[in-house]
């Protein structure tokens, strides 16, 4: 009789532990999802800012058509990759970031543009959006790391394996080296 009670007790403890581990995994997975949604919001915000920026800059930078087109093209490509995985998307967003940085670097050479209130406001928004992207990416990757650790470490790995928790994918934005602005005074 006593043996039965002990067995039941052990079983109950095991079940409670299982539930706790499972709930912990679900919580971490939701955190990863939320963090990803945050990145998404910021990336969309950047898509929305770009047409405005190009419109403002166009009048001043008549000789920088290539730079402007690069930005517009990179935006179009990045927008097409919205539903792709973290890796493919990171690459497209990285190109957009590089194109934008080139544009802002070139803008330094146009004093009239830098005095434009509209441009200054846009520049602040763009700088901040870039920061928000990298901070939300930072938080997302931290969440993924925590979640992955939990799915791979014993004993929670057993629960994760049984109930089908897959490891999360890190989000890396591959940014090309910032090029020095080429200024010609001809």
């Amino acid at each position: 009789m006593l043996g039965l009670w002990i067995a039941l007790g052990v079983l109950a403890v095991l079940v409670i532990a299982l539930i706790a581990v499972y709930n912990g995994l679900v919580r971490l997975r939701n955190e990863v999802k939320n963090a990803w949604a945050q990145i998404d919001v910021q990336l969309k915000r950047r898509y929305d800012l770009i047409p405005n920026l190009v419109e403002t800059v166009k009048g001043y930078m008549k000789h920088e058509r290539e730079t402007l087109e690069a930005v517009t093209n990179a935006r179009t490509i990045a927008q097409k990759m919205v539903d792709a995985g973290a890796q493919a998307r990171g690459k497209a967003e990285g190109e957009l970031t590089s194109a934008l940085m080139r544009l802002l670097a070139v803008a330094e050479a146009y004093p009239d543009l830098k005095a434009n209130q509209n441009f200054l406001a846009l520049q602040e928004e763009l700088t901040s959006t870039e920061n928000k992207i990298s901070f939300s990416r930072q938080f997302y990757n931290d969440s993924v790391l925590k979640y992955n650790n939990q799915t791979q470490m014993f004993p929670s790995s057993i629960v994760a394996g049984m109930t089908g928790f897959k490891a999360g994918e890190f989000f890396e934005v591959a940014v090309a080296e910032r090029e020095a602005p080429k200024v010609s005074f001809s």
Partner: protein
């Protein structure tokens, strides 16, 4: 904080034993005092603090840089709700966070701070404040302050009672025969009355300092750039301006202790905050990375302590965290004139001043009481519509 609670109960117990012949009664009175003060602090604390500081709430358009930086740090810390952002019109550079839980929090920054700090530095300060919110320090410090206040209050009233009403009481109890027991209780009560407020104050300072270190470490972790916060602290420490709206109760909420002797810079000998020079040196010694473990290592090195300040549980959580580079704006050098204009623009706007642009290029401001539709430009003399 647990220690402070025990102290509160102890002083309640012995004072109760002395005055009411019942230790439990005294403890209950102590708890009631504590509970009432807690309720006030819990429900009104943030609005009282913001009102006392004369903080003005801003939106995204009033001061885009500040609002954006707060939002960036909200994202970096994983806070769920955007805190309200306030500006305090005060030349002394300082900042504080308030709000009892992360979903109803506010960050307030003085105009002096906005003028002095560049983006990276501002980010460091805001990250420090946001981590107070994220770590629920605001609530912790408010609760500790309430216990401290309760202890001070009890001790004060008890001492008045003892001086003015105690005579008759001692005579009666000694005639009833409980002499030596009464004297011991009286002695303990007096000792507690004198020591409890001091002890509680010291405990309160210790809690506050520990939370400041933790907030600095989190600030470095969120921004990945400890130098920003370090150089912000340096600028704040160098300032001699005294914050007008601060008082003792709100002091631990600020990024540096707002109290220093008139005309002197914020001193190293502050109770609620660790010495600024040490905080700066720790942040600057974080060579390897921005994680809690890196901060702990720097702390041990600078303070030559054998133990870190942030528990082992938190330091183990995050892996290698690389530092980032300074923002381009920081590299270009400071632009204080631009920042001063930006800040004063925000303040004009918050005070309902209207801005009028004349075609001659002049720009002037009209106070809120001005009711006419047109005004003559003081620069070129033409009539401009308001």
């Amino acid at each position: 904080m647990g220690g402070m609670g025990v102290l509160l109960l102890l002083i309640g117990y012995f004072l109760g034993l002395y005055f009411l012949d019942s230790g439990t009664g005294g403890m209950i009175i102590a708890l009631i005092v504590w509970a009432v003060m807690n309720l006030v602090a819990y429900f009104q604390g943030d609005s009282i603090l913001l009102a006392v500081s004369k903080a003005r709430r801003i939106g995204p358009d009033d001061h885009p840089r500040l609002y954006n930086v707060v939002e960036e740090m909200k994202i970096a810390s994983g806070l769920e709700k955007m805190p309200d952002v306030y500006i305090v019109d005060d030349p002394a550079p300082n900042a504080f966070a308030t709000g009892r839980d992360p979903s109803r929090a506010s960050v307030a920054v003085t105009s002096g701070l906005l003028q002095r700090l560049n983006r990276d530095e501002l980010q460091g300060v805001v990250a420090h404040e946001i981590s107070h919110i994220k770590n629920r320090d605001v609530l912790l410090m408010a609760m500790s302050a309430v216990i401290l206040g309760s202890i001070v209050m009890l001790a004060w009233y008890a001492s008045r009672f003892m001086i003015f009403g105690g005579m008759t009481r001692t005579r009666r109890s000694s005639s009833s025969g409980g002499g030596s027991g009464q004297i011991i209780i009286l002695a303990v009560a007096i000792v507690l009355m004198i020591l409890a407020p001091i002890l509680a104050q010291l405990m309160y300072f210790a809690i506050s300092r520990k939370r400041e270190y933790l907030a600095d470490a989190s600030g470095a972790l969120y921004t990945r750039y400890p130098e920003g916060l370090a150089s912000a602290l340096e600028k704040i420490a160098a300032s001699t301006a005294q914050l007008e709206s601060a008082n003792k109760a709100t002091a631990p909420m600020y990024i540096v202790n707002p109290f220093h002797r008139k005309g002197l810079a914020a001193s190293d000998l502050t109770g609620t905050h660790p010495p600024i020079s040490a905080r700066i040196r720790i942040l600057r010694s974080m060579a390897g990375g921005a994680s809690f473990a890196d901060y702990d290592r720097a702390y041990q090195q600078v303070r030559s302590a054998s133990k870190g300040i942030i528990g082992p549980a938190a330091t183990a959580a995050v892996g290698v965290v690389p530092l980032r580079e300074a923002a381009p704006e920081t590299k270009e050098g400071t632009n204080e004139v631009k920042r001063a204009r930006e800040t004063s623009n925000a303040l004009w706007q918050l005070n309902d001043y209207k801005t009028v642009n004349c075609s001659c290029g002049a720009r002037f401001r009209i106070p809120p009481g001005f009711s006419e539709a047109e005004i003559k430009c003081p620069h070129c003399g033409s009539v401009v519509r308001v």
